[in-house]
């Protein structure tokens, strides 16, 4: 049962891959290694919601192969699930750079969640404590440890 899906697009000399789902033992990432093209590979990880322990190993193997290859790669729009692994697993990003992350917000009034992108390549890496809740009109608060979202920038 493959729990992972991806969509490939070529733009601006890059190959952009939008990855969605759960990275588990069933995730076959070898297909991504076989993608044609020689430009930078941008892995959009905003849709990755879960990674289990075997999935971490699959991912480590994947980025190790990418790092050993000639093609550069970067991690963009890293979901909170990915950020968590970046902070706890050695070599989770391999030789790739982390370009942007998705900041999680939570509304305690209606218990909804939202994510807002943060560009880590710019001069400002400020994380807003609060944003308006689009669902109930209340206030959403940043829902994680702020330092864990900017500590691996660069």
């Amino acid at each position: 049962m493959n729990t992972l899906k991806w969509k490939v697009a070529n733009a601006n000399g890059k190959t952009e891959v939008e990855i969605q789902g759960a990275i588990t033992e069933d995730a076959d990432l070898n297909g991504l290694l076989a993608l044609e093209g020689s430009g930078l590979l941008a892995l959009d990880l905003a849709g990755v919601v879960q990674i289990n322990s075997c999935g971490v190993r699959e991912w480590i193997h994947f980025v190790r192969k990418l790092s050993d290859g000639d093609r550069g790669f970067e991690l963009v729009r890293c979901s909170p699930a990915i950020v968590r692994q970046l902070n706890t697993i050695a070599n989770f990003r391999g030789a790739g750079s982390v370009r942007s992350v998705m900041l999680p917000y939570y509304c305690s009034s209606c218990r909804s969640e939202a994510q807002v992108p943060l560009d880590l390549t710019g001069a400002s890496r400020e994380i807003a404590d609060e944003i308006p809740c689009a669902k109930c009109g209340g206030t959403m608060e940043f829902d994680d440890m702020p330092s864990t979202y900017v500590s691996f920038a660069g």
């Binding site: 033992e25 289990n52 322990s53 968590r84 994680d144």
Partner: protein, 333 residues
């Protein structure tokens, strides 16, 4: 907490000859906690120094408020309680400080029991359950951590296909309860690791070898007839509980401690190569829970219990400390 005035409270239990020692920063600050313990297990006697721990009988339980200890005392705990063989049982009480030393505490095999004590309040239930389990040996059952009216749901799992069904069932249940998606993902992740461990790592053959441990997790397995994993989940409005009980009892505490130490060290050996598990399961489990409890009856059964505080969002969960217990029931009929 002021670490300058360490005091040690001893709670002897005359009926069993066991005693419970409480080492805090100031006994007055823990008056409520001590009252609760006294109610549960017996009298309280205060002594003044860490050195007196060595005079306690080996059957004692020594509860130490870790955050108030100075570095020398923390190192002494490692040397006095490390190795795991003999001597009193150590129960660490900590708000967050111990979390920063998990690699050392697990790696030295000192840490088998730790309960979070919040700066504002003590989770009486978890502390009292822990103390009673250590004293009386009645260790199995997730219901001990919940009020009597919190109903547990039970599924029976014997194959990889049933594991996936169980994961979908618990995810759907957590969704119906309105638990936010990120916390739901943690619940699913813990359930996944529990069931994978019970299906692949726990089963042993008659010669004691592990039947499926080195099998790729992409290859399905089925337990033998008569064997099953009891998978439970429970919610009381504040915490979500997950439990998986296997009929093998093949897990060893030192294995758990070593895997956790490796995970928290974050070194080059953090992820295991090879065809079986990635060696990260326990690390991922503890990282995803407020409280991990492992109950072992060697050769008979292993129960993994996970408790997750779902009262607020993810930040509320991740900023809090983590409780951890390994209980071993020995010599049962």
């Amino acid at each position: 907490m002021d670490p300058k005035s360490p005091r040690l409270s001893i709670l002897p239990v005359s009926s069993s000859g066991k005693s419970i020692a409480f080492l805090g920063a100031d006994a007055d600050e823990f008056a409520e906690l001590v009252r609760g313990l006294r109610k549960a297990v017996g009298e309280v006697k205060v002594i003044e120094s860490l050195a007196e721990v060595s005079k306690l009988p080996s059957s004692s339980l020594v509860a130490v408020y870790y955050d108030a200890r100075i570095e020398a005392d923390r190192n002494r705990l490692i040397s006095d309680f490390g190795g795991g063989a003999g001597g009193p049982t150590l129960l660490l009480l900590s708000e967050k400080r111990a979390r920063h030393n998990f690699a050392q505490l697990f790696g030295s095999h000192v840490l088998t029991n730790m309960i979070v004590i919040d700066s504002n309040s003590v989770n009486d239930r978890d502390l009292l359950v822990t103390v009673k389990k250590l004293r009386y040996g009645d260790i199995f059952g997730m219901e001990k951590y919940f009020a009597p009216d919190a109903k547990a749901h039970t599924l029976r799992v014997t194959t990889t296909a049933e594991k996936n069904w169980a994961l979908n069932t618990i995810s759907e249940y957590a969704g119906v309860l309105g638990i936010p998606p990120r916390l739901r993902a943690l619940i699913r992740n813990v359930s996944d690791e529990y069931l994978t461990n019970a299906l692949y790592n726990a089963p042993v053959a008659e010669d004691g070898s592990r039947k499926y441990a080195s099998r790729p997790r992409t290859q399905p397995v089925a337990l033998d007839p008569g064997q099953e994993i009891e998978f439970q989940f429970c919610y009381d409005g504040a915490r979500f509980g997950i439990a998986a009980k296997d009929p093998f009892g093949s897990l060893e505490p030192v294995q758990v401690q070593d895997y956790l130490a490796k995970g928290f060290r974050g070194g080059e050996d953090q992820v295991s190569e090879g065809t079986g598990g990635a060696g990260l399961g326990f690390f991922q489990i503890l990282d995803s829970l407020s409280h991990l409890v492992i109950n072992l009856e060697p050769g008979k059964r292993t129960e993994m219990i996970g408790l997750l505080d779902v009262r607020g969002g993810y930040r509320n969960f991740t900023e809090a400390g983590k409780s951890f217990n390994i209980f071993v029931r020995q010599g049962s009929p």
